[in-house]
């Protein structure tokens, strides 16, 4: 063993191994050492904090310097390994480096288990509404009437308050007032004996249900008399949004609402959206699978080595098609959808195009592998009869691949239904389009109803797909 080999490894980790012909080992050692040094350098440099960036706790901590012991030990081990090949055990650098990767990885991922337990009470905020999915609701007759009130009063007093809806008329003793002032409202035309809810609408359209003055946990509920009349007093609430000048007069509204149970159940508004979204999702998946399969079909033949290896030109086509399929396949349909939403605009068409493109790439690859796995004998025999390329494909290839193609297509349909549920999150239509809005609005009752609908559809698709594929086998 010439002394130059360990010396080379002392100068540059892995160099000795490279020079003595152990290329994979040498490159691994060099790559590992550089990665470790790079990681330590990254953790030592302080983060350039601007207001938008989220601080990474690990960055810039001088204690990270201690990690240098790991690459130094590996450096020493590598000199030993260069001097005595196959003696230095490989688990030493493996253990050292994985320890460092795991400890730093734990910190970078900001893993903080106590948080899991400390905020457990927040869970109920989501779980409680989710236990009552908003899909159907008791049938009821909804009636309302409203009156406009200016808060606070402008310098010129407004004209007499003007009630709108025909059935319920509201009269207020003042057409304007400041926050905290008391108003008296008189209503006529209400349904007798059905409780009335008082709702305040802010200048930007938010609704606040008024609460009892002595018990703020309860909503106010007034009982009209037998003729449908009601007179009650209320205090003008502070409904002025943050950032708005409270001295500027704004139009606000008082609503009186009644909900009379009619018995039985009906589809709620959100339930209707869910049905629409689910139908869109299924239609989108069906169209994308059909178009995707039709698109994948020609590509799969062009991407099959055994059909395209004939001459230089077809081989070039094969390489190009194969490369494109591989690239497109590696892009999530959700990402492709973002591109199509930009081109086409929001809606199911964009989502369908994205799922279709992904299906073409994924099925194109799978189909081409089926083609590559077929028995070359019959193809040779058909070619020997003087058949042309299309005839060879039709008589030698198709009969061998159709069963596997069908099974893959059904399986893809199942995948596409799942992809289509989520594609709406980026604006691609379907149930996901509604779901993301409900999540943003914290409407967890609708969210849970949408989850249930997705669950049912996906389960049915799984079952049907499995049964169909069983039959083909």
């Amino acid at each position: 063993m010439p002394v130059t080999i360990p010396l080379a490894s002392l100068i540059l980790p892995g160099l000795g191994q490279l020079l003595s012909g152990r290329r994979a080992r040498g490159l691994s050692i060099l790559g590992l050492t550089l990665t470790l040094l790079g990681l330590i350098w990254w953790s030592l440099t302080p983060q350039d904090l601007s207001p938008e960036t989220r601080p990474i706790p690990l960055k810039g901590d001088p204690a990270n310097l201690y990690w240098l012991v790991v690459p130094v030990l590996i450096w020493a081990w590598n000199v030993w390994d260069a001097a005595r090949p196959n003696v230095a055990p490989g688990w030493i650098p493996a253990l050292l480096s994985t320890t460092m990767f795991f400890v730093i990885g734990w910190q970078v991922a900001e893993i903080n288990p106590p948080v899991l337990a400390s905020n457990i009470d927040r869970v109920m905020l989501i779980v409680r509404p989710m236990l009552r999915p908003d899909f159907i609701q008791p049938r009821a007759e909804e009636r309302e009437g409203w009156v406009e009130i200016i808060v606070p009063c402008p310098t010129e007093a407004p004209a007499a308050a003007d009630s709108s809806t025909g059935e319920i008329t509201l009269t207020v003793d003042a057409t304007c007032g400041a926050v905290g002032e008391t108003l008296t409202v008189a209503a006529a035309g209400l349904t007798p004996d059905v409780p009335v809810e008082l709702v305040w609408q802010s200048p930007i359209g938010d609704f606040f249900v008024l609460r009892e003055a002595d018990d703020p946990t309860r909503f106010r509920s007034e009982q009209p008399d037998a003729q449908g009349g009601l007179t009650t007093a209320l205090v003008i609430p502070n409904a002025i949004p943050p950032g708005v000048d409270p001295t500027m007069p704004q139009e606000q509204r008082l609503y009186l609402r009644q909900s009379r149970p009619l018995g039985g159940w009906e589809l709620s508004t959100n339930g209707g959206f869910i049905l629409q979204g689910i139908y869109e999702t299924i239609a989108l998946a069906l169209m994308a699978t059909t178009l995707g399969t039709l698109g994948a079909f020609p590509f799969s033949f062009l991407a099959a080595r055994n059909l395209m290896g004939g001459n230089a030109f077809t081989l070039v086509v094969y390489v190009v098609v194969r490369t494109i399929l591989n690239i497109v396949r590696s892009i999530e349909s959700l990402i492709i959808a973002i591109v199509f939403v930009v081109i086409i605009g929001l809606g199911p068409f964009a989502g369908m195009m994205a799922v279709t493109v992904h299906t073409i790439a994924a099925l194109g690859k799978l189909f081409s592998e089926v083609i590559e796995g077929i028995d070359p004998g019959p193809i040779e025999a058909i070619r020997a009869t003087g058949a042309n390329w299309l005839q060879i494909v039709r008589y030698g290839v198709l009969p061998q691949v159709v069963p596997a193609f069908t099974a893959f297509t059904i399986y893809r349909w199942e995948i596409n239904v799942r992809a289509s549920t989520i594609i709406g999150v980026v604006g691609g239509g379907g149930i996901g389009f509604f779901l993301i809005q409900w999540i943003n609005l914290s409407d967890y009752r609708a969210v849970s109803a949408a989850f249930l609908a997705i669950l049912v559809v996906v389960q049915i698709m799984d079952f049907v797909s499995a049964r169909l594929r069983e039959r083909l086998a």
Binding site: D375, A381, T385, G386, A387, Q400
Partner: protein
Amino acid sequence: MLEVQHLHKVYPNGTRALTDVSFQVEDGEFLVVIGLSGSGKSTLLRCINRLIEPTQGKILWDGTDVTAASGAELRGIRRQIGMIFQQFNLVKRSSVLTNVLAGRLGYVGTAGSLAGVWSSADRASAVRALERVGLAEKAQSRADALSGGQQQRVAIARALMQNPKLILADEPVASLDPVLSHSILQYLEQLNREEKITVICSLHFLDLVHRYATRVIALKDGEVVFTGLPQEIDKARFKEIYGEDAIEVKAGLSA
């Protein structure tokens, strides 16, 4: 007449499969090609209808340069050359009838054949071809439902559909029971004698060679080491072709 002139084949991996192979086949001959596995028999047969591209050399068939043909001209040559394979090479999932009809592909239009539409004349001749090999009642069976010997007979029917002037048979009986070997070879012999179809067939067993060949060429490491009549292969020649350690085995039942 088929003339093979100075044929060379070197595979991309460097294997020299054929080296300077030259011979002639007169019309109506039953030429048997013998030699060890890997001696180049399959490559030679596939060069004749250009399933494999020769590296160098010429193949002339009735004056046409097969090696220079391409596209439609090459397919026109291929459709006159039937081919039979060791593994039968039927499309297993297709019906026997469809497999036989595929033999007509070189003669029919692309559009019709892609749609799976066949003329009644083609269908009738497919049934006749199956009758000829005794399998008319199996026409609607799936090809893989048939035994090995039956599949090879379907393959012969497929070759017949080409109205071939020449049949290339690449080890047609090597995957079959010795009992069935004679049955298959007798079909080929019948075609050779009655229809005057030239047959070039590679075989393993010397007793089959003696029984069916009108002439023999032997290949060793891609070179022709013997050309002559089957009777001329004696013990000394046999060792020359197959190597010192070879022992002659018989296919079994004699016809």
